[in-house]
Amino acid sequence: VIVPIPSLLPLIDAGQSIPPANSPSLLPVKNRGRLLLVEDNPDQSRLLERWFAALGFQVVVEDDGERGVARARERGFDLVVTDIELPHASGLDVARASKATAPQRPVVVMTAHASVDYAVQALRAEVDEFLSKPLERAATCRVVVQLANKHTNQTGQTVLAIGAHPDDIEIGVGGTLLKHREAGDRIVMLTLSRGARGGPADSRAQESEKVAEMMRATLVMGDLIDTAIPEGLETIDLIAQAIRTYKPARIYTHSEKDTHQDHRSAFRATMVAARGIPDFFCYQSPSSTVEFHPTRFVEISDQLEQKFELIQQYETQISTRPYLAKNMVLATAHYWARFCGYGSVEPLEVIRSS
């Protein structure tokens, strides 16, 4: 979701309150999250896919129990909806696999064989809702939206990541933000400029929008002048507005140890605007100096491939920026891992940690 500056209007998204029946908030909303639908009846799966997509979910459909179980072991879903009777494995196997991977992620099971036995088994598999077919659209959509919202609100703190230009945030803390998203946190990304010096501003903004959609994050785009971002009032106000609007519990921004003047300005303005935020961390940029001194390392092995996919969306930059090459992204993640038992990590300087 792109929010034009200076309006910073509050958004409707997955973090909002649970809508009552027939509420207007069941109207289409962008980025409600990724939904895994496991259903072997093609008539039913096509219909459900259409219903859920209309609500704003990105729907992935599997028509086989085994493939459903494999998908449910992935972390990139916000909600799982599965039929019980499937070929090769049951929907309860899908539910168990999902709960073993992501205990907080809601699971809905459906069946046309509504029976006490199934209901008991579903309860034992710790599913969140049990729906009896035939499904009715309004009631089904209400359940799905409520669970998706509950998932976000239950665990959800808001984290605000601030970058001077499009792609700065993804390079520095893309994996960390993906981890936040998997934990049910709400992500807000504030990009201070549209990066006109590094390519066409409109294209770069579109690339940012695509990445935000993939991350199911709220994107706020400022329009400060690329390479001339001030550290003073204008930037402080922009960041302070985002903090007032989204009330983040945690901030990520550039380090001051950086050769790029915009990155240093972003850090200094954030220090002022975010003085009341208890958790404040600085990420590494390709232009960070050797003085960059991380003491917190976030393990991102499970998110590394996805992080690289995000970075790949910046097509206007890839051919001219060697630091966006996959081997550089991987090498950076592996280098810092030597401080915490190996794997892949993103390094952070800790300004404050509550």
Binding site: N41, D43, Q44, L47, P134, R137
Partner: protein
């Protein structure tokens, strides 16, 4: 769009109209197939088709089709040839009566 199924009129959500046409076309094919399955005494396959119909028809807005699917599934599960025959005949008659009217 409004679809007439027998004497009942079903109003269809505009955003699923294309799916409804596909769904009904498939049911007409099912109706033809059920006649052959009945002739061969293949109750297991009849039961499978009826079960799928029961689960999905009402979601598309066709309650009567769903109810018939339930009755056919029960008859096929019980291996009751007379009841299966009667339910298949009723289902095919209902599918023959399909008519579509576009809402103003």
């Amino acid at each position: 769009m409004v679809i007439k199924v027998g004497v009942r009129m079903t109003r269809i959500d505009p955003d699923i109209e294309d799916l409804v046409f596909d769904f009904l076309a498939q049911r007409v094919r099912d109706g033809q197939r059920l006649g052959l399955l009945l002739r061969d005494g293949n109750y297991a396959e009849i039961q499978r088709i009826a079960h799928a119909l029961r689960g999905s028809a009402a979601s598309y807005g066709f309650q009567r089709l769903s109810t018939l699917g339930t009755a056919l599934e029960l008859a096929a599960t019980a291996g009751d040839a007379d009841a299966v025959s009667a339910q298949v005949a009723e289902l095919r008659a209902l599918l023959d009566s399909l008519a579509v009217e576009m809402a103003p």
